[in-house]
Amino acid sequence: MAKVTVDGRTVEVPAGTLVTDAARAAEVHVPIFCSHQKLPPLGACRICVVEVGTPKLGPDRQPVIGADGTPEIAWMPKVQTGCTTTVSDGMHVRTVSETAVKARKGVMEFLLVNHPLDCPVCDEGGECQLQDLAFAFGHDFSRMDEAKRTFDSEDLGPIVKKEANRCIVCMRCVRYCDEVMGENALTAHQRGVYTEISSFDRQPLACEQCGNCIEVCPVGALTALPYRFKARPWDLRQHITICEWCPNGCSVRLGVRGMEILRARGTEFRGVNQEYLCARGRFGHEFVNAPDRLTAPLVRTGAALQPATHDEAVAYASARLRDIAATHGPEAIAFLGGEKLNIEEQYLLQKLARAVIGTPHVDARTRPAAAVAGDALLRATGGGRPALSFEALTDAQEVLVLFEDLQGEAPFAQANIVRGFRQRDLHVTVAHSRRVKLARPRFKGDWLGLKPGTELALTLGLTRAALELGVPDGMPAEAAKALSASVAAFTPEKTEAETGVASAAITAAARRMREASRKALLFGRGVLEHAAAPVLLQAIENLAWSVGAITAETSSVMAFGPHHDSAGALEMGLTPDHLPGFVAAGDPAARAAYEKVWGRALPGEGSSARAALAAAAEGKVRALWIFSDELLSSAPDRALVERALEKCELVIINEMFLTRTAARAHVVFPVAAFAEKEGSTVNSERRLQKSNRALSPRRGARADWEVLQSVAQALGADWRYRSAEDVFREIARVVPGFRGLSYASLLPQGVQLSGPALAPRLQPVAPVAPAASAAGEGLWLLSGGTLFADGSLSARSNTLAKLAGSARVHVSPAEASRLGVGAGDMVELAGPAGSARFAVEVDDSVPAGAVFVPSAGSELNRLGAPSLAGLRVQARKAGAAATVGA
């Protein structure tokens, strides 16, 4: 620790603290521009100059005490930049002495020498650091009477507007794009006063379009084109809520004017992400204001859906539900979807299903091809142990990413890894069939480019290699022995033969993870929606223990999604085999507590979404209630969904838009978007965060929990929740793992959930025979989320839709020439269930023998099931006679 005195105020700060941070601790404001908490000190702008002094030491190396009894200070002859100076014990800092003030005013004046007086036409006005600091620290007149240097203004693509005249060359944009985003899209060119920030050869920015350069720009040099000239910050109400695009749970500050969200920003020192947002977080809010939001419930009369009042819709739905339950039993009703709801809504969903209606069929996970136990993910992530945080991820020495393209699925997690690589000593190993961003050479990691369909083999191979290094910490010896025996066959050589990944790379990856003291193991949809998901999850749990990513006390495993509150859905028991808090639904003793609290006997285990749909297609399930899920497009078996929706006598859908799926419903309840309701969500750190309401719901729309309560009440339940908080209070009373929590306790950073550390299951896994369609011919159809296209909502956010373009099929250059196609040509993909056409994009990250189509907007389930892994298709140039397959 070091004692530092800033303008007479003494504080104690950790050794290595920068003077600017010590000043903040002493509540003295030292202005900054180029300094940024996520970037190493630069010392370029000079606005933070202060006087620094240290105690004079006498010949005895002790401080010389002056006449007034305090140590005499030797002041450094030149002012120092606070952002580059680390404190020492006994240091004194003067920020308002004549010297410091003159120096700072001088720098301020220099900053305004060439900066144009653009405030009236500059979007930054009102929230501009230069304005604010000029007002606080500068002159109120200008002595600069010369012609200013000028540049042309430039659109750097569809997102970023550059007014280079305003640039103060703080280099935050360039450094952030390099060190946090790993994109290197921006560069400074020329030098001196003619330094201009631009892209290579002034081409449009070909980058993640995150807009963080705009966010970190302290002036109006970089502004957002979608927001240009729309509002002044004082016109806006700004509310921080949790972004709904991915499971990272970033805090997004929505700027609302009237009933319209005009923009979204990050916020320094808030949330897990602070200033960072990805393109979706920053520009994805547009769907909230889309003109085709549903504004009234719809009830089917005859062939068509007609608008109805909320009461009418509730009455109709509840009457029908009561009918069906009475005639065919409560098990004839199934509840599907809900990964996008708040936990309050998820809790009420399953409470309505189980405790009011009495059906056990609750499953939020409509996309997986195979049924996964409700606590499988909890186990695979070291359940109960303190969860991995994003900070720990940035700080890791070794990161292993399994079968996940973080750029599309968890962009903020990716940015943490990039920063850890650029600024610390992080090394990343990416196991993925495609050479995704983090697998690119510039990140100096290792790419395990496995053949599609061999995910399990690789996992087993890595496990064996890890266990070869000895019994890992915390793994019971018996289990280690059994596990080793079960993976004995997956020698590095055998694994190489099966997966195509070099044996040396396999052993190296395993060793690196074992030997690292700070590590992280990441996976997501690529596993959860895999055809062999249950087996693969168990294999990953085994691998995690084997490499020391789960030990008796710790967990360094993080799983993603796919949706922003998928983790919440698991916590709240939106799975057929678990009640909230991972209480086993099939265990009567375990159920008893809930039965007591909710006042009735509860059903046991129910069917998975897949099984429920199959049952609906056969007429055994007669009613489906689906929550914010474009089931037709996203479920693995499209034909099954078609049959189920056709056959069901009651389909209730909660949706924001009249989607294809919603158009098949008998009742549609218009629901509020994430920004229009209070609630809390759980992110991939298992962090429970409060999400706030930024604007009132669209006319006619209600929060899902309100709809659920209306129907519950109509069914006779005595529910009296006045707010989402009321629901939360009940959750905090009755759900294990949530005891003692309140909304207040979720401020400011949320709370990472944990619980009693689950004992390892470590069940040996038998290799699974490849699925029927996977054997034999065809190109592997790879899919997944991408940055700009993430489901039906992104299509309704204009900026994202523009960036995404229409879904294309990505083929390797070799495959393109075999097919005889080039960029933009049409290709027809044919699978077991059907075919579809896509325009070609030549992409060297796609391996031979495979094609990649982003999952959003492509409706890949038209081709067959499952669509994410294990599907092979035939491809031919559209219009050509011959088919290219194997």
């Binding site: 370029a44 100059v49 030149k78 580059t84 120096a103 001088g106 720098v107 400074a188 001196g192 006063v193």
Partner: protein, 433 residues
């Protein structure tokens, strides 16, 4: 007639750039006598005792700089020659390298040995491409003769040196900017601390020395510290090569013992002024240092005497400003130089050099206002000590010096909208007339 007592004693010897001629004169003997025979620590002590100071401009004691390299560091060490010579008025390193490249190589081997380096670089300004060829040829000769390579002279000590060509950026003469450039970045300076001796090239201990400094090392090691101290003063030991330019009869490079009178140099060695011109002012150490009025001509060419007169010996680029040259015009010229060469990293230098150039342009062209003079002084004061590196100071100090000694010329420009005297303007106007 020899042009100097030490480095220039044989500088004009025909063929000196070739290894056989160089060796004939005793070249590389000090390498033979030192590597593996004299401990590296002792080498550093001799150089310390000699009082040799950096000849590029900063004048930092060389032996002391070498001693900052941590002995126990397991990292590779690097010796880098700063041959970026871009300080206006300075052209000594150019002549030294052109004519005696082997002396630089020998100096680098010995400096490398002293700090435990096996790899050195000579960073040449881009315009010195022909010097790069001369040096590369000499390096190839030295390597063939065993003076460079995996085992220098069979001693087992490995040393190799490469040339690296800059591309036109004065700022790359600043040692951390030089290292940035050598590492493959834009040539912008870096934070100190850490100092290059601890964390320099590739974050490894690195010593950056000027050409002339390194070329003094072999003779110092051969003859001893006391020998070097036969010249110069107590605080400024040895000799320095001064580059004299301006309207003197014999401009050029001259090596003198430190402390030699600048008046002598100009009037005797350089033969005094041409064409009936008189000295109005002299910039003693390259354009970055404040000028001295003619009254101070008789100042000793050493570090402390120059400091006492409010200026610096700097690079030793002696620019003679004659009485037909306008001080305001000259200052404008220098300030434009710093504006062009500013790297742009820090606000005061980037914006301040632009601003001062604009004000000086108006003053020179007859559009000056009375408040411009104090404005210039204040802008310079706001740069001095506030910029990221010494280039800002280098831009500010000439302004302060000119205003201190020749304020009347500025006032004349404001009042009369014209120069007191300006041959340059007249000549330009006369072209094609």
């Amino acid at each position: 007639m020899s042009r100097g007592p030490f480095l220039f004693s044989d500088i004009d010897k025909p063929g000196l750039a070739a290894l056989d001629v160089y060796a004939q004169g005793g070249g590389y003997e000090t390498v033979k006598a030192t590597l593996g025979k004299v401990p590296a620590d002792q080498v550093i002590e001799v150089v310390k005792a000699s009082g040799l100071r950096g000849r590029g401009g900063a004048g930092f004691p060389t032996g002391l700089k070498w001693s900052f390299v941590p002995k126990a560091s397991p990292k590779a060490r690097y010796i880098v020659c700063n041959a970026d010579e871009s300080e206006p008025g300075t052209f000594k390193d150019r002549e030294l390298m052109e004519k005696n490249p082997h002396l630089l190589i020998e100096g680098m081997i010995l400096a490398g040995y002293a700090i435990g380096s096996n790899l050195g670089y000579i960073y040449l300004r881009g315009e010195f491409e022909y010097i790069q060829r001369i040096l590369d040829r000499a390096i190839a000769e030295a390597r063939a003769a065993g003076f460079l390579g995996d085992s220098v002279m069979g001693t087992g000590y490995k040393f190799q040196v490469h040339t690296h060509l800059g591309a036109g950026a004065y700022i790359c003469g600043e040692e951390t900017a030089l290292l940035s450039s050598l590492e493959g970045f834009r040539g912008q300076p870096r934070l100190k601390p850490p100092f290059p001796a601890v964390e320099g090239l590739y974050a490894c201990p690195t010593v950056v020395n000027n050409t002339e400094t390194l070329m003094a090392v072999p003779a110092i090691l051969k003859n001893g510290a006391a020998w070097y101290r036969q010249w110069g003063t107590e605080k400024s030991a040895g000799t320095k090569v001064l580059s004299v330019s301006g309207q003197v009869k014999r401009p050029g490079n001259y090596e003198v013992p430190l402390g030699y009178s600048m008046k002598q140099l100009i009037e005797v060695e350089c033969g005094g002024m041409k064409d009936g011109l008189r000295v109005k002012a002299v910039i003693p150490g390259g354009s970055s240092v404040p000028l001295l009025p003619a009254a101070d001509l008789d100042t000793g060419l050493d570090y402390e005497s120059m400091n006492a007169k409010g200026t610096f010996l700097g690079s030793g680029g002696v620019i003679v400003i004659d009485n037909q040259t306008c001080i305001v015009d000259a200052l404008w010229n220098i300030t434009r130089f710093y504006e062009h060469e500013s790297c742009g990293k820090c606000t005061p230098c980037r914006e301040g050099t632009y601003w001062m150039s604009e004000v000086l342009e108006r003053l020179e062209n007859g559009h000056g206002k009375p408040e411009d003079i104090d404005l210039l002084a204040d802008v310079a004061d706001n740069i001095l000590g506030k910029s990221f590196c010494a280039l800002g100071d280098a831009a500010a100090m000439p302004v302060q010096g000119a205003l201190k000694h020749f304020r009347e010329e500025f006032e004349h420009h404001v009042t009369h909208k014209t120069c007191l005297a300006n041959r340059r303007r007249a000549e330009v106007a006369g072209v094609g007339a």
